[in-house]
Symmetry: C2
Subunit: 396 residues, 2 copies
């Protein structure tokens, strides 16, 4: 049985109080507002008792939404983002806002990895992953354009869920690259990720898992040895067959679309507030690097990708979720493995499945066809059940 | 030679002062801000001297953006929408905000048709079309989800330009149906529409027109007799061949996608502020009417539409832009002819080409393949040159 809404809020607040001084997963906590919201929730609401964090590029009425950037300091939206309104109507209570990298790109915020405070939690949904991994909340909203849900989930040893592109609303969410941006959530386990999905869609997650194939992809050689070894052992134990996997060219398509669109979506910041951008962001937002013709060609090439060839007869494609363990604080890590599902709008989930050489979590990525979230979640749940990895709990 | 920025602003302000008492195209005019902005613009800026209006679902820093809805009354964004920032950087000056229907849907604002004050200007970019038609400004930003740029342009006897879906940024624009929403502009003539396009893209409009085919579509029988007669006469005079045109089923796909997504994008308004929605909007935002399965099927059907069959060897498809003349004030008219380019993300333009039985403008719609804006604009310019229709000028 889930805790009552008020208990859920109290548990979250006391955990944050104890732990967030060092971790810095939260940019804003609203104890009073959360208490008020919890008081109004019936115990029969589908998500009653679920306290959540919301990445600080997603609007919550009355809470600062500063996008990890001084350009937006002091911004307090009057209204909830559409998905926040839906979650509140289902009984979830927003505890506060979680730290994002600058404008959901690469420049890190202050958040540390709860498994090792010298390490990055990943990005850009940094605070959401860290807050869930450190058990402040059971779930937190995030977004992904390249690997911003699955990568931090992998580094923090929690579940990261990216639905099909376009499936849930981005109204009230800062835009980065609309052809790729997807709202999703980080959760403590697959059951919690599925609970939120099912409450939002009214659909029940499938009961039987899909047929899985694995692929090493072209990032294999760049992955840490511990990832490769653990992944191959898992594939063998599960009896997965090997699929061809995505072509190397998809990475360049993803990068061209993302860069062109970010230059355009962030035109206000680029043209009017360049002095308040990080050097990393300012360098990236150079519209001369990807001309419109290259962008349009990348969109056309994306539209003609043979997705069935990638799945190769399977329902689900498995890859590592990241190249290895969380990097040292400063970089938010590499999103290579996450680019092809982001490019193609495919639903994907990361679940922790092993530990690396430093004892830090390693994530498994599972990818399904568009709109096959129920099958993806059922499959992830079945694999999670069979995996021996356990969170370190009081790991620090 | 274009006017200087300061002249452009002064002309617009004095025209608004004289005319907008009855017309009510503007929800906000910022004389002081426009003057300040104009003072900073060099005469060599590509759009120097261009005073523009901005539809009131698009953010302009420091100006109220109230989306035609009491739910958003008093909202004043701190930052420009991305496309507004780009236009300002090119030398355009924002005079103020133009009236939109409620949340860019059907419930009308106060704006009247400048050709006949008892008539509607169309919607949802109502104020943008009326302000350009009444010569307050040469151009105004708008958006289209079904027919919200081309329909009001047609009713007001001006040019309405909808680029390819996704080509220009919607950051800072209220979302309605992201699979369809497109930002574009209303302009006094094709040259002005092309000037803005070319300044934004750095591309020059093609010099030679494309090959045009016409189609009556399945809306033919519902169109006014004057439209049918004028359109057939134009097609014969131009020597256009007849193409098959879009299938009837596309209308239902458009409607399913738009309704499902609007229920989702406007979740905050629907769940938290239903009492402040019009009855029309409240009835429309019923999530039970289009279930997720129907939505996903509509997306899949859209992805498999044979676009080449619609074009039938031509570069450009011509249809009427609306069923007839502007309706009486109260309804914003029917978007039937505009749905297929909106559904398929195709660039489209409306140009005035004839008058109806009441002497009011009738519009021609031209549609091109994705990203073929230069060819579309060149073709529209060539047709505009050959059309005998002239605006009524002091028509009221």
């Amino acid at each position: 049985m889930r805790a009552s809404a008020q208990q859920g809020v109290n548990n979250a607040l006391s955990r944050i109080e104890q732990r967030d001084g060092e971790l810095r997963a939260w940019s804003h906590v609203d104890a009073e507002g959360a208490g008020r919201q919890a008081a109004g929730i019936g115990s029969d609401a589908p998500l009653a008792g679920l306290a959540i964090g919301v990445k600080d590029i997603i609007d919550v009425a009355g809470m600062p939404c500063e996008l990890g950037s001084p350009i937006h300091r002091g911004r307090v939206p009057a209204h909830d983002a559409a998905l926040v309104a839906e979650l509140k109507s289902l009984g979830a209570v927003v505890i506060g806002k979680t730290v994002t990298t600058e404008l959901a790109f690469l420049h890190p915020g202050p958040t540390r990895n709860p498994h090792d405070l010298t390490r990055s939690p990943g990005g850009s949904s940094s605070g959401s992953a860290a807050a869930v991994a450190d058990r402040h909340v059971d779930a937190a909203l995030g977004t992904q354009t390249a690997g911003s849900l699955l990568r931090p989930a992998s580094f923090c040893g929690v579940v990261g869920f990216k639905p099909t592109h376009g499936r849930f609303s981005l109204a009230g969410v800062k835009s980065c690259s609309p052809s790729l941006d997807t709202i999703g959530w980080i959760a403590k386990d697959v059951a919690t990720a599925a609970l939120i999905h099912d409450a939002l869609t009214g659909a029940a997650t499938a009961v039987t898992a899909g047929r899985v194939a694995f692929t090493r992809t072209t990032y294999w050689e760049r992955s840490e040895a511990a990832v490769r070894k653990a992944f191959e052992a898992l594939a063998a134990r599960m009896g997965w067959h090997e699929a061809t996997g995505p072509a190397q060219e998809l990475e360049a398509l993803h990068m061209a679309i993302m860069r062109f669109e970010m230059c355009r979506e962030l035109a206000t910041e680029r043209l009017q507030f360049a002095g308040q951008l990080s050097a990393m962001m300012r360098d990236f937002l150079d519209p001369a690097i990807v001309p419109a013709g290259q962008y349009v060609a990348a969109l056309e090439a994306r539209a003609s990708v043979d997705i069935e060839a990638i799945f190769d007869g399977a329902d689900i494609i498995a890859t590592p979720a990241a190249l290895g363990e969380a990097p040292l604080f400063g970089s938010t890590g590499d999103a290579s493995f996450n680019r092809f599902p982001s490019l193609l709008g495919l639903p994907a989930i990361a679940i922790p499945f092993a530990r690396g050489d430093n004892g830090l979590p390693l994530g498994l990525q599972l990818v399904a066809r568009r709109h096959a979230e129920p099958l993806l979640l059922a499959t992830a749940r079945e694999i999670e059940r069979r995996i021996v990895w356990r969170p370190s709990g009081e790991g620090r």
